[in-house]
């Protein structure tokens, strides 16, 4: 599932911020700095993840989504949790 989630996350970034250098994003590169996103735009992106994966990112988790790896890991867990509770 990881590669599928990863691909969808990258696609979501491209859709929402088409002018940003998504190709430069490695798993552990700092997400905001690499893409040139300010704090509001990072929240905007997280909201797009929420909509795209039908998950909820608690406010307290926002600050932890600092890299592609962290995003993939969080989304995978959230999707799994949503699936098991459904």
């Amino acid at each position: 599932m990881a590669s599928e989630v990863r691909a969808r996350i990258l696609e979501t970034i491209r859709e929402n911020f088409p002018d940003r250098p998504v190709d430069r994003l490695t798993d552990d590169a700092p997400l905001a700095d690499t893409l040139g996103l300010n704090s509001m735009q990072v929240v905007d992106l997280v909201m797009a993840f929420e909509e795209g994966f039908d998950i909820l990112v608690p406010d307290g988790e926002l600050g932890k989504l600092t890299s592609l790896r962290a995003c993939v890991s969080f989304v995978e867990q959230a999707v799994r949790a949503a699936g098991s509770s459904a």
Binding site: S39, M40, Q41, V43, D44, M47, E51, D59, G60
Partner: protein, 340 residues
């Protein structure tokens, strides 16, 4: 049906550019615009209070509407920071206008949603035939209230705006639907203290995220009336989600689609919030005018200020469908569909 008959504005003369504030905050050039989209804002002069700006805007709205102060039936004043704790500014505007009849004048306190809340009251008064001419006056002198917490310093500007509301003069024209709402669970996410109560003291905190947000922002309680604190991430999410939902709800109520709207007038709080709303709704940015770059966030005056600009430069045409939507502290929000 009720209709907006005319619009007026009053802006303080002093223009404050980002450079002045960036120098004061020790931030590099471009810091403010990158975060907010704002380049300049107006600041009221010493002694120039919100009700002065409101009264000046009201006079303009009356003049443009061809109505005298004597013909008014009610004044609804909206603001975030009152000029005086008592009395409300509605009565002060009434005095300034000099009408000969003692009409009802009262204040609405719903921050950035204040204008749409006040408009909904004016709409209700007219629809119920309790009034034929109602002034909605939205004015803010607020820049001093944002000096203590760095992220808020460059955001807010001072302004006054007013609309005159009366019975619709043409079939199908006017205020078609309004959605106003509040969700007090977000009440502490954008908040200012007061002289008597430290709203940030542990015993007064109710929002589970407030302590974390305060810690992240390195803000140290106690926080007084001159410290307006917000947690930007929470506000952003709530604003984008609510404005998107409320816009869809109001359009559904009037049987219109997004494509039927000629102008979307979104509250000018932060350029990034509005860009996110526009993208989620799939709107053409050209139909979503913006003036935040020049005036900053003028809180309750924001939407009528934008309305006045569209009218002044000829973009507003009779028969066009407008969608006004705002979200702010409270949380409180308001959305209105208006056939111009």
């Amino acid at each position: 049906m009720a209709q907006i008959l005319s619009v007026g504005v009053a802006l303080p003369a002093r223009v404050v550019a980002n450079a002045e504030l960036e120098a004061r905050l020790g931030q590099p050039p471009g810091w403010v615009e990158e975060r907010t989209g704002i380049r300049t804002r107006r600041q009221a002069a010493d002694g120039e209070l919100a009700y002065h700006l409101g009264a000046a805007a009201a006079r303009q709205a009356l003049e443009r509407g061809g109505v005298s102060a004597d013909e008014l039936d009610a004044i609804v004043f909206s603001t975030m920071f009152c000029d005086y704790v008592s009395p409300g500014s509605g009565a002060l505007v009434q005095r300034e206008l000099g009408g000969s009849r003692p009409v009802p004048a009262f204040d609405v306190r719903d921050q950035c949603a204040g204008f749409v809340y006040a408009l909904s009251l004016a709409d209700a008064l007219v629809r119920a035939s309790r009034a034929r001419r109602v002034l909605v006056v939205s004015a803010e002198r607020q820049h001093e209230n944002f000096l203590a917490y760095e992220p808020t310093v460059p955001v807010f500007g001072d302004a006054g705006a007013a609309v005159l509301v009366g019975p619709s003069e043409r079939e199908g024209r006017g205020i078609l639907a309004i959605d106003i709402g509040a969700d007090g669970r977000g009440a502490e996410i954008a908040i200012a203290g007061c002289e008597n109560v430290d709203v940030f003291a542990p015993e007064n905190r109710h929002h589970p995220e407030l302590a974390r947000a305060l810690a992240e922002a390195a803000v140290k309680p106690p926080l007084g009336p001159k410290l307006y604190f917000w947690s930007g991430a929470e506000i952003f999410r709530a604003a984008v989600g609510t404005m998107t939902k409320s816009t869809r709800a109001v359009l559904a109520r009037v049987g219109a689609g997004l494509a039927d709207v000629d102008w979307f007038l979104f509250h000018q709080a932060n350029l990034h919030i509005n860009q996110a709303v526009v993208r989620r709704l799939g709107l053409d940015p050209a139909r979503c005018p913006s003036n935040i770059e020049r005036y900053g966030n003028t809180t309750s005056a924001s939407i009528p200020l934008l309305l006045a600009e569209l009218e002044a430069d000829g973009r507003l045409q009779p028969g066009q469908l407008l969608l006004l939507s705002t979200f702010g502290a409270g949380y409180a929000w308001g959305t209105a569909a208006v056939r111009w």
